[in-house]
Symmetry: C2
Subunit: 216 residues, 2 copies
DNA sequence: TCATCCAGTAAACAACCGTTCTCCGAGTTT
DNA sequence: AAACTCGGAGAACGGTTGTTTACTGGATGA
């Protein structure tokens, strides 16, 4: 395992420390918010000189934007699968909640980052998250529209429903996270959150089935 | 207008600068988050020595908790009125959204603070907000339960619905805020957000009307 | 009137911050 | 093999931070 690539050793090392910076930042952000995160703090964890930071990001805001993409891309692809599947409402709801559960368990730091910085103090990061969730909502809207239940729905209403769903996904994930580092016994409170989340989605789904257009 | 109170001049002055600290902090928090706010930064705006801060708060976390109470008490009483009123679903929804609109217009800093620090980096403040919203949800649940539509609803389901409502209120307020400092023309996007918010509440209400209990 | 209290002051502390500049040395290209 | 890139190191900069210690002076209560 020595020389094989024609000339990517240099770039590979660069992207490795870049990833190390992202990972270190994500770790530190579990107990503070981005606008209070220090440049030196990050480089110290990685074990590089503070000046090395500038070889990868102009400032912490730029790193934050990179973290947004990293955090949402994984969930994005996972949920896409759930949306595509042809199944009953009940089943789809169960799968959705299960996917969120798994995501929170496997990538808690990513979830926390998104929930925290969605309304956080760094404008560029807020906008990046908003844009990403917007694309997300658009996909959900497209999936919803293709379902037979949406007959006679205006595009605006479908979009409205999609945003409702996306917001709930984020809130549910955040709720799972809260009980997770709440400390207590996982199983009890955790299952309660899952149950509540399912019921809320079910209620929205009922509203969807009996929805009738009205003015304004 | 000189001597009238028996002995509250000293305490009155103290609470005045205390309020000044709260106001200054709230202003500074429009463009950053609490965990990055500096103690000296606050006292500088007020015009007092940094050490004077300790006469009022142990640290910025304690100030944050005080801000939570201040921020939510006003909205709390306002929404209480809407909950109490006996009116049709359509009317109540319109009133609710109108109240949120007014709140965002009159107290944008408070709304931003709550939305930002709800998932922010300071544990004590997060818990304070969670606790306050919990009491809030309990009140909403009580109001919902007393309505005839809730016949046969379990307490758990009523609570589930109440949390759904509260979350939506916060998200709606935050959405208004985003379009507010998005800059563009207020009227157009603003009315769109209001319209979407009404429709989402309406859809939830439809779901509520046709809700039927089911296991798990 | 006089002793007491206490909100606010002033100075100094060590620690940390973001950023600039210069330099090095291993990987890359010719 | 020589010339060149460029990620990273190192040192230094001016500035800010939270906190401590000792002190002041006007309201307070006897």
């Amino acid at each position: 395992m020595s020389h094989s690539e024609p000339g990517g050793v240099r770039q590979a090392r660069k992207q490795r420390t870049r990833q190390a910076l992202l990972d270190a930042a994500l770790g530190l952000l579990e107990e503070q918010s981005l606008s209070s995160l220090g440049l030196r703090e990050v480089t110290r964890v990685v074990g590089v000189a503070p000046t090395a930071f500038y070889r990868h990001f102009r400032d912490l805001g730029e790193l934050g934007v990179a973290l947004v993409q990293e955090s949402l891309s994984s969930l994005h692809t996972t949920v896409r699968a759930v949306l595509a599947e042809q199944a009953g409402a009940e089943e789809r709801i169960d799968h959705t909640v299960a996917v969120v559960e798994r995501y929170v368990r496997e990538q808690p730091a990513h979830v926390r980052f998104i929930a925290r910085e969605r309304h956080g103090g760094v404008r560029a990061v807020r906008q990046a998250i908003a844009g990403e969730l917007d694309r997300f909502a658009a996909e959900v809207a497209a999936a919803l529209k293709s379902q037979p239940v949406s007959g006679g729905w205006s595009d605006e209403d479908v979009r409205m429903l999609a945003e409702l769903y996306v917001d709930r996904l984020v809130m549910t994930a955040s709720a799972f996270l809260d009980v997770r580092d709440g400390g207590d016994q996982d199983t009890e409170r955790w299952r309660a959150v899952a149950c509540t989340a399912r019921r809320q989605l079910r209620l929205i789904d009922v509203g969807r089935q009996y929805w009738r257009d009205a003015g304004s």
